[in-house]
Amino acid sequence: MKEISERKQIMRYLPHTSEDIANMLTAVGVKDLDELFATIPEDCRRSTPLDLPTLTEWELNAHMEKLAAQTVSWNTHTIFAGAGSYHHFIPEAARYVLSRSEFATAYTPYQPEMSQGTLQGIFEYQTLVCRLLGMEIANASLYDGASALAEALLMAIRIGRAKKKTVAVSTLVNPYYRKVLETYFQSTGFKVETLPYLPDGSTDLAAIDAIDDLAGVAIQSPNFFGGIEDLAAAGQVIHDRGAVFITAFSEPLAYGLVKSPGRQDADIVCGEGQSLGLAQSFGGPGLGIFAAKQKYLRNLPGRLVGQTTDTDGRRGFVLTLSTREQHIRREKATSNICSNQSLCAMAAGIYMAALGGSGFRELAALNRDKTEYLKGALRAAGLELPFARPTFNEFVVKFPADFDAQWQKLLAEKKILCGIPLVCYYPELADHYLLCVTETKSREDLDRLVEEVKP
């Protein structure tokens, strides 16, 4: 017994026994493990050893369950918030096939002959994204909706060969995406202008006439207030100025129902794909979706999968057009991106396939219909919905002046998150809240919310 209790805990991820180590050290010709590191100078070494706790598998489970229990989720609360992160049902079959370790534990498909699963899956993803957005080409993914927007605006500047140095972005583009855009642009020397919104909750494009030097303009639809923008009209105005027309989104499910950006002449479409079968996971990993017109292919950031044939003439897939990318072009690359969100793109592909064209359309309709139901009920209860633009599954409500206390109380006592206060992003919108309804909310949930908040 003594022998057992004094034995060092063997770490299950490390297969070497002490005998293996001794034999291998002999083969290498060093006396101990420390000698392997003899080339590291003394002044680069740690002066103290690592000091980290160690948990067994079972202790880790208990510890993590405790942490997870201290974070609210849709399991514990009724959440009427979106703002770029949406709760949708994920079919178990989709979750299950995605977790196949041949997908999850593979690296980037540098050896296509043994990566055809990932490659065909991403080729299918690219295709379904094109069909969803009405676009000609889509890449294999970027990090998230925010970085996709930044990359789109940088691409607009490349398309103009960096002669035009200003881009414009609607204030109704998700405020977090706009913050990320500022980060990406801070050391480039290029300028970002913002476009105000109109009383109906859509973007006011009049201001672009005053901007010289305009390389590209980005509009989000559905926008941050949930409003569906008139992209066709916007595109015309933007194209008349000779600028690249970019549309962004954070809720791609909308295109199951509303006209796609491609049908409205968008040059680049970028956005967040979390809605397409990804867990919300405290905001990440998400999925940066990126699509464009064919003529801009050589300017596209990120990886692309293409179809080809093998030496026996069979269909197969490879990473292609990598002369745009950092590992070949280095400082002249179209982006610095290397690892993207490949497994998230697989998840989105699987999700779109699981719903199918008919299911996707029906689900989109259900999201909107439930939203319209709640909008109607809130209006009937005497609340103001200040923006008239048609919406998809998010909308703005103006509550009475003292609503903040009630909002807190609802959250604490009733476990209802009644939207996101907009005043943090739009100082002029005190008492305005952004609410979100998806298929996960029953009519009963909606009725209960109205009962709680009616003035």
């Binding site: 999968v305 080809t308 689900l363």
Partner: protein
């Protein structure tokens, strides 16, 4: 064991999604419609996407078959140099899927997400502790975004000191992301030649370092698998001229518990969680690329940051010098949960992991160097780099060797990188492989060297056991077909 791992099972064909299915099927259980339909304005309405309709069974078979054409680290040895394909523990997946993590909305008030914030806070502290640096941000979504973060911090630091510097020094062994990230942040990269010993020399750095240079980006251990032995002296040269040192921590796996990056003179270090901290690479991501920084640079870290006070953990933007936000929310949180689980599972044995990884690389180097040309014959760190010089007489290349390894059941090493080594074969076994696996890999590599001499066509016509054989990449690029 006299059998090779590579064999052939039944490989099933599977068409593209839209070559399957039939209109009217679905793989989704549509929630009950408990509200009335509301007509949509015709000016806005679209016709919906043209996706194929498949049943759940068809979906499951489709993706199961696709998965069987893939090879993951769960399938076998994946000695992809500099990419560090170590085992991805299964408990990590469980933790990331706990409802409080997977089902949490990122915009709930701090009081209601204490667990998630605690995890971020502790992970940042652990990474700072492991690197020896002062503070960390786990926000960057991948290594390249970590590099961008580092370059933005460089620019912000110099701006704060009233300076604009235009250049960055980057060694010729660097990953392509280094110059690309520097360019994205407005810097012009100045290439540095690696010295004859496979490491940077202080003289090379001193010759180009000036007061218009923001700093140096250095991967240490470098992509030749060597520790940059002059790093301290090089850092002094750069610091004296007011510059900063960026450490690309892609290869941190070699030196956990051994190197103190702060003492080595590093100011900013990025870490790839999918390499060193065992998160699955997912066929190309999502990864995570946290950055660790010195005390002086901590105010420039991205926001929001998690801070801890008497009331608990909270997110704050109160860092006026911050470079700002990198992601819509807080980065790839699900990946952070996995890395945290790995660190908690190994604890101080992270050092053992590094030691075993380095032992394995040196063992392979010793056992193969009589058969394969080793450009730098000296003790290596986590990886060793050979070339195809000894294969040249038989008109066989690194690519042929890589493809032949596939037939034997191994994922090939990284090839043709670093660029400074022609025909490079970069092998990184990691700590995950048992001695038997490594011996089998060595036996295979030696057998292939022999085949190159006796029957080179076995290499040039490989692979033969895979779903498809060599693919025409030239045709793919010349006539791009990017969707069906």
């Amino acid at each position: 064991m006299n059998e090779y791992v590579g064999t052939q099972g039944l490989i099933l064909n599977e068409p593209l999604l839209w070559e399957r299915g039939r209109k009217g099927r679905t793989g989704f259980s549509l929630p009950t419609r408990d509200v009335d339909p509301v007509a949509l304005d015709a000016a806005i309405a679209g016709e919906g996407p043209d996706f194929p309709d498949l049943s759940e069974v068809e979906i499951v078979r489709h993706y199961t078959r696709l998965s069987q054409w893939n090879y993951g680290v769960d399938s076998g040895m994946y000695p992809l140099g500099s990419c560090t394909m170590k085992y991805n523990p299964k408990t990590n997946e469980r933790q990331a899927s706990l409802p409080g993590f997977a089902g949490s909305h990122p915009l709930v008030p701090s009081e209601l997400c204490q667990g998630a914030l605690q995890l971020i806070y502790e992970l940042e502290h652990d990474l700072a502790h492991i690197s020896g640096l002062e503070a960390a941000s786990v926000q960057p979504a991948a290594g390249a975004q970590g590099e961008m973060t580092g370059m933005l911090i460089f620019a912000a630091y110099h701006r704060h000191r009233g300076q604009t510097r235009s250049k960055i020094l980057i060694p010729d062994t660097a990953h392509g992301t280094n110059p690309a990230s520097a360019a994205l942040c407005g810097f012009k990269s100045v290439p540095l030649e690696t010295g004859p010993e496979g490491v940077l020399t202080p003289e090379a750095v001193a010759a180009v370092m000036d007061e218009d240079t923001a700093g140096l980006m250095v991967t240490n251990p470098n992509t030749l698998g060597l520790f940059e032995t002059h790093i301290r002296q090089i850092a002094d040269i750069v610091h004296t001229k007011g510059g900063l040192i960026y450490g690309d921590g892609a290869n941190l796996n070699a030196v956990m518990g051994i190197v103190d990056f702060s003492r080595a003179g590093i100011d900013v270090l990025h870490i790839n969680l999918h390499k060193t901290f065992s998160t699955p690479h997912g066929g190309g991501g999502p990864g995570a690329g946290p950055v660790c920084v010195s005390r002086e640079l901590a105010p420039f870290l991205p926001t929001p940051r998690v801070v801890k006070d008497a009331r608990g953990y909270r997110l704050t933007e109160e860092f006026p010098l911050s470079i700002g936000k990198l992601n819509a929310f807080y980065g790839n949180f699900g990946i952070l949960v996995r890395a945290y689980s790995f660190i908690r599972s190994l604890g101080n044995q992270l050092k053992d992991a590094s030691q075993h990884a380095v032992l394995n690389a040196n063992y392979i180097k010793e056992k193969l160097k009589d058969r394969y040309h080793l450009p730098f014959d000296k003790p290596c760190m986590h990886e060793c780099v050979f070339t195809d010089r000894h294969l040249e007489p038989y008109k066989v290349t690194t690519l042929d060797l890589a493809k032949r390894l596939i037939d034997y059941g191994f994922h090939p090493p990284t090839i043709y990188f670093p660029l400074v080594v022609p025909g490079a074969i970069m092998i990184e076994p990691t700590e995950s492989e048992s001695r038997e696996n490594i011996d089998q890999f060595i036996t295979t590599m030696r057998a292939i060297a022999e085949e190159a001499r006796t029957s080179p066509e076995l290499l040039t016509s490989a692979p033969r056991k895979t779903k498809v054989r060599r693919l025409d990449e030239t045709a793919a690029a010349r006539k791009p077909c990017l969707r069906g």
